[in-house]
Amino acid sequence: MKLVTERREISSPLLRFSAPLISIGFALFVAGFLLLASGVNPLEAYREILIESLGSLYGLSETLVKTTPLIFAGLGVSLAFRMQIWNIGAEGQIYIGAMAASGVALFSGIESHGLMLLTMFLAAFTCGGLWAGVAGFLRARWQVNEVIVTLLMNYIAILLVDYLIYGPWKDPKGFNFPLTAQFSDTARLAEYFDTRLHSGFFLAVFVALLLYLFMERTIWGYQIKVIGSNPKAARYAGMKTGMAIFMVLFLSGAIAGVAGFSEVAGLQHRLQHGISPGYGYTAIIIAWLAKRSAGGVVIVAFLMGVLLVGGDSLQLLWQLPVAFVYAFQGLILFFLLASDFFILYRVKLIKGAADA
């Protein structure tokens, strides 16, 4: 008897759907032991997570609030992944988007609500796009590795925002805190149900739908897929791959930039230090787990939202260390990635294997 693995030639859709669910089950199981070790009943803890994040209108709204930037950034990253372009600079692009939107909100003096939001949106979109576009240009022109460029530009973006809020953009009435003045009402997105849920969430879902149509139904999406599958063949078929690399990184950064717009216009109503607690990095994991599909990004981003909100409440209720939340997230990721293995490979028990 022998246990062997064999690469699956084509993975079945049922498996692809159920594997992540099963792996979440595993993660919950293993994390249960961690909880037991800290003297917390795991079942109670899980109930708590679900109740806190989904059990009430308030909880659900908080979950969706956290989901919103994750969807935008996840979509941006996944778009680039489709073309085998590794944009790991979504974090920086979020900051640049937030900065651009804030600049418009604070200094443009536009009075119409709609025009103000549209201008903020476009500023975030364009600046996020150009920020990532730098890496696109370097890659298309001189084959500079986009991983390094996008990553390093994160630090520049974060420090640039810090410079502004500690320096020229600091609110004079803000008791020297590193933040800008509050936006006026013209620069704020609508909020619903007396919660912090804002229209940025609906915009995110709408963008996901647009991106899906873009990828699956347009000739541009088609080209992105061909280039992602085999750039040589694409060039041979007459596609301009350099231009495509720039455009895709631009769009990828632009969508991540909109996450910055949505955060400042919908939630924080000002630019401040630490505007994204790492959404741009989580987005990489989301894009990976979502298998680069737009619908998948929305679902996985929501799952991450549940974890973030539920994890917060565990800290409050049982004084579990923050590290527990990270460990828990790590476990889920671990098992999700492990499930990839079972989607790609089949494990078989074979009798009387070759013992020659």
Binding site: V4, I219, K225, V226, N230, A233, K348, G352, A353, A354
Partner: protein, 508 residues
């Protein structure tokens, strides 16, 4: 003699495809056993089962009467079964010697290195291979690279060698050498499983032929029991081979006027030198030459993949080397590339998507920026039926198609645009005889409608049959034309080796 290898009722399915339904045959020691079958019949899949890459759903493999079950290529190697892969697994920057050592189970130390070197030298001498152990692999011809793969297996004392379409990438001369080696191996008692679509080779080398049809072994015949016609009839049914007629009425219009074209490679040497040619509308112009004598450079410069260093390509009074003219015209040049897996297809995408790779913007497949999925599907259905592509369930990535079927996808795509000029490199390489004949028909029909073809092929029979004129190339130069009607393989062969023959027909 007792059978060395016995395969019984092997079945292997993939989701939505029965690749192998029921296959049985056996191979005796010292036997060259040929597998023959249409594209997609399951030959490669069967070999992957034999080498432990795939595990069969059911059925048995016996070696020396013992039932075995392989779970990885390592297992089958341990049982003496080795395969020369179609895509060689070599490290280009390393030397031949290093590449061979890499294949050993334990990397040898300084002392045993010497021993291995001697042993490899001995193999090279024994089989009279033309191989320098210290030259880096990237410098070698495809044929020489194949020797390396072969030596790797011989070092491990493999008793069964599997060669999946080894001759597809070889020049006829290289193939001849390979056959000599195979015969020598056979004398030593080694068994060989050989796959080829070229009937001439099958007739020449096989002791035993097993015919696969739709995943079933339908007949095993011993040498003497079969001839070419019988094999073809068993394989596809003789009546299914398409008939076609050559268009003998040539026009006088010139579609491409190539003037003193030169192309230099990265090392500054010229791949193409002072090459001039007038391609007539509706003509099929064969290009004969030993591989590496400039054919590829010619194809690449004509299709825009490379730049000419000198000379002009005139079409409709414009020079295609001039980039703006080029861009509009390139669309009218179809190209069946030599290197099909690396530049011909997007492997993760479906047949539907691969078929429109050059025409996705056309009004037939797009409404503005949106793709017309219905007409894209319809187009795929048409092409699948027309070229008898064995495709698997809708949406299957083309990487899962058999070698010949991938080739058909590329040909179907390139010919669907009704190109003015077709540049075809080895278009029927890897196709079964029925499909090859169908491609010939499509090219001939295209010619009748005014398409000019530059046909680059190694198979002289194919060139002689299809071409209106044959140009012979040697060392990047055009050395003369021959008339296929009154020339023999031998004459052309002589010219290909650099002997300048009669130089007539140039003005034809």
């Amino acid at each position: 003699m007792p059978d060395f290898l016995k395969i019984e009722h092997i079945r292997k399915t993939f989701p939505g495809v029965i690749a192998l339904d029921d296959v049985s045959f056996s191979v005796a020691p010292g036997e060259i056993h040929t597998l023959l079958g249409e594209n997609g019949a399951g030959k490669s899949t069967l070999m992957n089962v034999l080498t432990g890459l795939y595990h069969p759903d059911s059925g048995e493999i016996r070696i020396d009467g013992r039932r075995l079950s392989f779970t990885s290529p390592r297992d089958s190697l341990a049982c003496g079964i080795g395969m020369v892969h179609q895509h060689f697994m070599l490290v280009p920057a390393h030397s031949v010697f290093e590449n061979i050592l890499l294949a050993l189970d334990n990397l040898p130390n300084l002392f045993s290195r010497k021993k291995y070197r001697a042993r490899i030298k001995q193999l090279i001498d024994e089989f009279q291979l033309d191989l320098d152990l210290d030259s880096p692999v990237w410098k070698l011809s495809i044929g020489a690279q194949q020797w390396i793969e072969l030596i790797k297996l011989l070092l491990r004392d493999c008793r069964l060698l599997i060669l999946d379409e080894p001759t597809a990438v070889l020049t006829p001369q290289e193939a001849e050498r390979l056959f000599k080696v195979l015969r020598q191996l056979k004398k030593q008692g080694k068994s060989i499983i050989f796959i080829s679509h070229k009937m001439r080779e099958v007739m020449e080398i096989s002791d035993q032929v097993t015919i696969l049809k739709k995943g079933r072994s339908i007949a095993s015949l011993t040498r003497g029991e079969y001839d070419e016609r019988k094999l073809a009839a068993l394989m596809i049914g003789a009546d299914k081979i398409p008939e076609w007629q050559k268009n003998l009425q040539l026009s006088t219009q010139i579609s491409l006027d190539i003037q003193q074209l030169s192309v230099r490679n990265d090392r500054g040497l010229s791949d193409l030198e002072d090459f001039s040619l007038q391609l007539i509308k509706g003509e099929i112009l064969g290009i004969a030459g030993v591989a590496g004598n400039g054919q590829k450079a010619l194809a690449e410069v004509l299709t825009g993949l490379r730049k000419a260093s000198h000379g002009r390509i005139m079409a409709n009074g414009e020079d295609l080397n001039n980039s703006s003219a080029r861009h509009s015209y390139i669309a009218g040049i179809a190209h069946i590339p030599e290197d099909r897996k690396t530049i011909g297809i997007a492997p993760d995408m479906s047949i539907d998507d691969n078929l429109i790779m050059k025409s996705f913007k056309n009004s037939a497949f797009a409404r503005g920026i949106f793709q017309d999925k219905k007409s894209i599907r319809r187009n795929a259905q048409e092409k699948i039926a027309q070229f008898a592509i064995k495709s698997g369930p809708e949406g299957t990535p083309v990487r899962y198609l058999s070698g010949g079927n991938i080739q058909k996808v590329i040909i179907a795509r390139e010919l669907s645009e009704k190109p003015a000029v077709l540049v075809a490199l080895y278009p029927t390489r890897g196709l079964d005889i029925g499909s090859a004949e169908y491609v010939h028909k499509v090219i001939a029909d295209g010619a009748a409608q005014g398409m000019s073809t530059i046909l680059i092929a190694e198979d002289l029979d194919e060139l002689l049959k299809l071409s209106d004129r044959i140009a012979v190339m040697f060392r990047g130069r055009l050395i003369g034309f021959v008339d296929p009607q009154n020339s023999s393989r031998e004459e052309i062969g002589l010219m290909m080796s650099g002997e300048t023959g009669e130089n007539d027909g140039g003005e034809a």
